[in-house]
């Protein structure tokens, strides 16, 4: 039976909260399993450091991901090399799996324009802050790929709140009509800032919305990285090479929780209670996979310690790299607005430099 043939409200599961196997374990070798574990640890550690950088005034507002590593890493790991991710603003962990250097993510939230530029060899769209606006992009990208006969798959990430936006609906509808190789990966973390999932829609599940567009939808335990891997792999395979009678797109509703605040500017204690947080913390994807991997003899204390050390060093290096990047030159304001800078903008840039020459940077930054 394929993962697509199931009730909408019956999430795919592989490991339970304790790491006990409750479903078919996907076909992953040891290195791949350890890779998922390591990448989740990387995302978590990055997240903790990023929040603390913000607290220390070394970074601007930052959207934390803790709790959502299983969904991000499990899904991104299931992509082929030539596939693309089209993220929102919270999928730092998925981006690292795809090869985005963590210093890029730091730079972005430190307010540097260059942080928004994925390296040429990383198949990722830039972060999209306006909710759901990236959904049609993922359809268009996949559509282009299909028209060119490449059938690279585009995995689009967005939240539960995003499913209320017109762009979500319009994008999904186009994906169905044009049968594009798109995977709609909904990180349902239960909340859109302070608005609970039940307030977004009366639909019993988000997955069932796929029905209206004519393609498959399913739920998965988003804090079970192996289950997420499994469903994403199936969705990607179907997007590339659909069986008779099935459309390429899939809507995956990955049920999960953000342990922390919506962003560092948010105070979640105003709208949700500790009991709820505690309940979800028990589902933490990291100890869950760790327990399973230990029970399989794939991880032990030494390997876990080595991974911890590796991850800590990577993040420390990324922070050092990001913080050593000087404030961009004002010229960067004007660069990239057009292929060629129009003369009017040259003139505006000259205004900046004239003032700088006469009064220094203090003319802009204050004393």
């Amino acid at each position: 039976m394929s993962v697509f043939d199931r009730a909408y409200d019956d999430p795919v599961r592989v490991l339970d909260e304790d790491g006990t196997v409750v479903g078919d374990v996907p076909d992953l070798d040891e290195a791949e399993l350890v890779g998922i574990y390591r990448d989740m640890r990387l995302a978590r550690h990055f997240d903790e450091r990023a929040v603390s950088l913000q607290r220390q005034g070394r970074m601007g507002t930052y959207p934390p991901l803790s709790g959502q590593e299983g969904a991000q890493v499990g899904s991104a790991t299931a992509l082929g090399e030539t596939d693309w991710i089209v993220p929102s603003y919270r999928e730092h962990g998925a981006a690292f799996v795809r090869g985005l250097p963590p210093e890029k993510t730091l730079l972005y939230w430190m307010g540097h324009g260059d942080g928004a530029k994925p390296p040429e060899d990383v198949r990722a769209f830039p972060i999209a802050v306006p909710i759901a606006s990236q959904v049609p992009h993922a359809v268009g990208g996949a559509w282009a790929s299909k028209l060119r006969g490449e059938n690279d798959v585009f995995v689009c990430y967005f939240g539960d709140g995003a499913t209320s936006e017109g762009d979500f609906h319009e994008g999904c509808n186009f994906a169905g009509v044009f049968d594009t190789p798109t995977v709609f990966f909904c990180n349902n973390n239960g909340w859109a800032i302070s608005v609970p999932r039940e307030r977004q829609t009366r639909s019993a599940t988000l997955a069932q919305k796929a029905e209206a567009y004519g393609f498959d939808g399913l739920q998965v335990d988003g804090m079970d990285p192996l289950a997420v891997y499994k469903v994403t792999e199936a969705a990607v395979e179907k997007a590339r090479d659909p069986p008779e009678g099935r459309l390429r797109p899939t809507l995956i509703e990955a049920i999960q929780y953000r342990f922390g605040a919506h962003t560092t500017a948010d105070d979640p204690t105003v709208y949700r209670d500790d009991d709820e947080v505690r309940k979800w913390r028990r589902k933490d994807p990291i100890p869950r996979l760790e327990r399973y991997l230990r029970s399989e003899g794939i991880l032990d204390d030494d390997r876990v310690a080595a991974i911890e050390a590796e991850v800590e060093k990577r993040v420390a290096d990324a922070i050092e790299t990001a913080e050593s990047v000087p404030r961009p030159e004002p010229r960067a304001l004007f660069e990239h607005a057009y292929a060629e800078l129009p003369s009017e903008l040259e003139a505006q840039y000259a205004e900046v430099e004239t003032l700088r020459e006469e009064h220094g940077d203090a003319a802009f930054l204050g004393e």
Partner: protein, 330 residues
Amino acid sequence: MSDTQNLTLVQAVRDGLSTELREDEDVVVMGQDVGRNGGVFRATEGLYDEFGGDRVVDTPLAESAIVGCAVGMAAMGMRPVPEIQFSGFMYPGYDQIVSHMARFRARSRGRFTLPMTLRAPYGGGIRAPEHHSESKEAFYAHEAGLKVVTPSTPYDTKGLLAASIRDPDPVIFLEPKLIYRAFREEVPEEPYTVPIGEAATRREGDDVAVFTYGAMTRPTLEAAETLAEDGIECEVLDLRTISPLDREAIVDAFERTGRAAVVHEAPRTAGIAAEITAILQEEALLYQEAPIERITGFDVPYPLYALEDYYLPSAKRIEEGIREVAGFSP
């Protein structure tokens, strides 16, 4: 003398909403996170508890429906006050704003009117993430049928908000979030209005008329004080309403000085400064003694925050711009 409270600008928003909710049963506040959370800037704090979830409504995340439903409610005579969380997220609702909110009255030849007030925090300078710092008031000023209001003090905020909510026509109420908490002012507890369409003179001077609004009012006044030390006296006019502009006050200040600068953080091309310049050309050409200086954001996408101080007009940039105007001789 009635009782007053010492409020910040964002507290004046809250107080203004609360007062109007109390005054008029038809007032409804709606938007993302405005209810239980009290708004991401706390602009609606406590209102949900006081007025209940039917009048202070947490909506799903959909700007088009927020604006569009407010249009429908307003057409039925209610006075909805939808909030868009940041002005950068107006655009999913833009079709509703332009195609309906602005022209329902005209399209229905007055059969339907829309007494609604669309609030949004706008502007830069708070180290916010991408899309959170833009100033796009010119979009709305360009749209016939809308009024566009940008307060710069707590007192004006409460009064202009009340005037907007009570206005028979739709108002875009843009709140300068940079100065949400920058200072406090005595604000009457009782209801009052500040008229839409009237500018306020924040400083008197005979040499240069400087037109500004919103968060730029403060650095402009700072620049004016510095210039006064050098004997250049600025008349600083806080427009308060972007549409309709107070043409009379603008022209009057210009006729008395013969020189003008306009300061806004929005981009220069097709901005409010261009409109003011055109008004002065039309109505006061023969008074003009120097080119009118536009001291504005640049015509580039608003940068991530590491460079925003170079984008936004600083007190120094404003000062130097005004010096240019003051020092011009043909």
